[in-house]
């Protein structure tokens, strides 16, 4: 009977209850296999996509190309061998191309070629070259391979032969060796990362790429997490648990708990993703470099301000749409009801994305872009896009934040009223007329 002893209870503060609700909403979602899988899968997927070229490079490196060369000119083979050994080496400095000279004379050439053909067929050689006697004047050589569409490989061989032949021509012209070396010195490309302060022109592709990825993430997350909120409300309605919870909290606390709880799940997932993106963009190049692939790409770096505004606009967008979705969820009695109810919110998000693609990206500073990016429903995607391509002045950013916050407060007020009535309604789906009645009903 001791368990029935009454203890004096401390006065409860309403925020504490909201916190309990948030904790429940958060833990029950974060602990699921789906969340863990989904959260880890995306960065791994991105990493995998990023690593494919690296891995391919590795595999290519393992297989040394066996090249047979019939050098009828009798002069090209040795410099070609040396040249290829210099430019094409794997990580350990071993040559990637193994050249072998096939002795022949014009009389047995055709027989030799057909026997080499067979050997290529069997895989003993990857390719064989026939360098004609008159290579210096005909400017042609022949390449035989099972698959002649490997452009990179063919181009390398073509360049190499062409280079060797050119050098030899130059040598024969009587020019000084050193002069020739200097004259034919290859021009190499050096890549630089360009930050915001620097030249914009060069980084526009890269910055577009990264903002596109982030805007797309924002778009997906707004749609997904809005629906999570709606589905969460419907689940609680279907399991009839709402009335039990309402015996100790007010509807507005319940709505706040749901929205903030699910929002925190989204934020967690986001921070993990963005953290990965941040990591890849900061260290990716270094990492790839250390892998010694010689694979030269520039990964655009993500500025901390873009990162922070991303989080900010995620939160603004999320709260704006979550209030709508919560109200819609409360009006529905089943998932299928919800499908019909959610179109206003979904179409707003899709419209934002369309406007981003067709208006804002084309000219982020046009009057239309500025005006649209200030509309609260569009701000999350449009203003963030403008920030990420560095074309949003601070005063416009602040204005959009203020407008969004005002809108959020309004929507939460309206949504809360619909929610309060809707969550106890069962059986039929409420229509817009009824919802308006609920808003007016105190």
């Amino acid at each position: 009977m001791r368990f029935l002893l009454r203890l004096s209870k401390p006065k409860e503060d309403p925020l504490n209850k909201v916190f309990v609700l948030i904790k429940r909403e958060y833990l029950i979602r974060v602990k699921t296999k789906g969340f863990i899988f989904g959260t880890l899968f995306l960065p791994l997927f991105v990493l995998f996509i990023g690593l494919i070229p690296v891995l391919l490079g590795r595999f290519a490196g393992e297989g040394q190309k066996q090249i047979a060369v019939i050098d009828l000119s009798q002069r090209v083979f040795n410099p070609l061998d040396t040249y290829l050994n210099e430019i094409k080496t794997d990580n350990e400095g071993q040559p990637l191309y193994q050249l072998e000279r096939i002795e022949t004379d014009p009389g047995t050439l055709e027989a030799k070629k057909s026997s080499l053909n067979e050997q290529v067929e069997k895989g003993e050689w990857d390719v064989f070259l026939v360098i004609p006697e008159d290579v210096f004047t005909s400017n042609q050589f022949e390449l035989y391979a099972k698959n002649v569409s490997n452009f990179d490989f063919n181009a390398t061989l073509e360049n190499a032969v062409s280079n060797v032949v050119s050098v030899m021509r130059l040598n024969e012209s009587g020019l000084d060796h050193e002069l020739i070396d200097r004259l034919i010195q290859r021009v190499q490309v050096k890549t630089f990362k360009v930050d915001e302060a620097g030249a914009k022109e060069e980084s526009s592709m890269a910055s577009f790429w990264i903002s596109y990825v982030m805007v797309f993430l924002l778009y997906m997350v707004l749609i997904f997490y809005g629906q999570f909120v709606m589905r969460g409300v419907i689940e609680d309605k279907v399991s009839r648990v709402i009335e039990v919870v309402l015996s100790s909290v007010k509807p507005y606390q319940m709505m706040a708990g749901k929205i903030i709880g699910i929002g925190s799940v989204g934020l967690t997932q986001f921070l993990i993703w963005i953290g990965c993106l941040f990591f890849i963009s900061s260290y990716g190049t270094v990492l790839l470099g250390q892998m010694g692939t010689g694979f030269n790409i520039t990964i655009p770096s993500l500025s901390i301000w873009v990162f922070l505004s991303f989080i900010l606009y995620f939160l603004l967008g999320y709260f704006l749409y979550a209030a709508l979705y919560a109200a819609m969820g409360s009006m529905a009695s089943s998932e299928s009801d919800a499908q019909n109810l959610q179109w206003p919110a979904v179409s707003m998000i899709i419209l934002s994305f369309m406007l981003m693609l067709f208006v804002v990206v084309r000219d982020p500073t046009s009057t239309l872009s500025v005006v649209l990016s200030l509309v609260p429903f569009f701000s999350p995607i449009l203003m963030f896009t403008r920030i990420s391509v560095n074309s949003a002045p601070l005063n416009q950013v602040i204005l959009s934040i203020v407008l969004s916050v005002v809108m959020i407060i309004g929507l939460i007020w309206i949504g809360g009223r619909i929610f309060r009535v809707g969550i106890l309604m069962y059986g039929k789906r409420a229509n817009l007329k009824e919802a308006i009645k609920w808003i007016r009903y105190s």
Partner: protein
């Protein structure tokens, strides 16, 4: 002290008057039965007490204070529509409802374990709610309702769906709670339970109170004109509407409700004259009979 005082409360949904000028009060440490047929307005009334619905008119006082969110933590509420989070573990569910009523986490876990043992659910402690049977879920829900040791317990149809063993278990815990000083209001249409547990009742039909007071008062009011009769022969006098208002033939005996202003003496005289009597008894009506009689009279007051 009146733990709950409902004064002239009305509530309509559109054209439907769910509750009409309803008044009743519940004394401290009482077990109070809110009775009525389906659709009588019990659940609406309870939802107004729980501040889930707002009354159109009238006032409700709990602990002699007007309704406010502060008092919710002093109340335990088991709604008619049972509901738990299906994906949550049993222990997490109980502690969630503890915490939401302002009990700290560790204290909630401690109480939860005690109650899970008491209601024979402890071996399910780490299972998910959806794995439990209906009956077990109902016991779990009951635990969630009483974990925060409310002063007032409101149970809407607490016994429906429970087998006799579990019904008894739940009843025992309710009696323990009453012993501890908890006031219990429960709504039901199972009169048998009310008869065993309730000290006071309020019977409502179509949103109006048609009978209220202590069980003893209610019964004695009906007891005056009820007779239980066992006989052999042809009892034509039962059809005499001026003498017998209504009767139920159970085979072994007949229960008779006397017409207004007629006495049992007159009935006995008639019976002796026509049939061979085995038994003639002034009966206390069962609540079930009262319920049926009163509700059949379609809300007409019997006073």
């Amino acid at each position: 002290m009146d733990i709950l005082k409902v004064d002239q409360v009305s509530k309509s949904f559109g054209d439907v008057h769910a509750v009409k000028d309803l008044s009743f009060f519940v004394k401290e440490r009482q077990v109070f039965g809110l009775l009525g047929p389906n659709g009588a307005g019990k659940t609406t009334m309870i939802r107004m007490i729980m501040q889930i619905l707002l009354p159109d008119r009238g006032s409700i006082h709990i602990f002699e204070k007007p309704l406010s969110p502060d008092i919710l933590d002093e109340i335990g509420y088991l709604p008619e529509e049972r509901g738990l989070f299906p994906k949550m573990k049993v222990i997490d569910t109980v502690t969630f409802f503890g915490e939401i009523h302002g009990i700290g986490h560790s204290e909630s876990v401690r109480r939860a374990d005690t109650l899970l043992k008491r209601l024979e659910l402890y071996e399910w402690r780490d299972k998910k709610v959806e794995e439990l049977s209906r009956g077990m879920q109902q016991k779990l829900q009951f635990i969630c309702t009483i974990l925060h040791k409310p002063k007032l317990l409101i149970l809407d149809e607490p016994f429906t769906g429970l087998d006799p063993v579990n019904t008894n278990l739940l009843k025992d815990v309710m009696v323990e709670l009453k012993g501890e000083g908890t006031t219990i209001i429960f709504s039901t249409h199972l009169m048998e339970q009310v008869e065993k547990l309730c000290e006071s009742i309020c019977l409502i039909n179509k949103g109006e109170a048609i009978l209220s007071g202590s069980l003893r008062e209610v019964k004695s009011k009906f007891g005056k004109n009820r007779v239980r009769l066992s006989y052999e022969g042809k009892a034509d006098f039962l059809k005499d509407k001026t003498l017998v208002d209504q009767y139920d033939d159970y085979g072994q005996y007949v229960e008779i409700g006397l017409a207004k202003n007629r006495t049992s003496k007159e009935l006995l005289q008639k019976a002796i004259d026509t049939v061979t009597l085995h038994q003639f008894e002034m009966a206390e009506p069962s609540l079930n009979e009262i319920f049926i009689t009163v509700v059949k009279a379609e809300g007409g007051s019997l006073e």
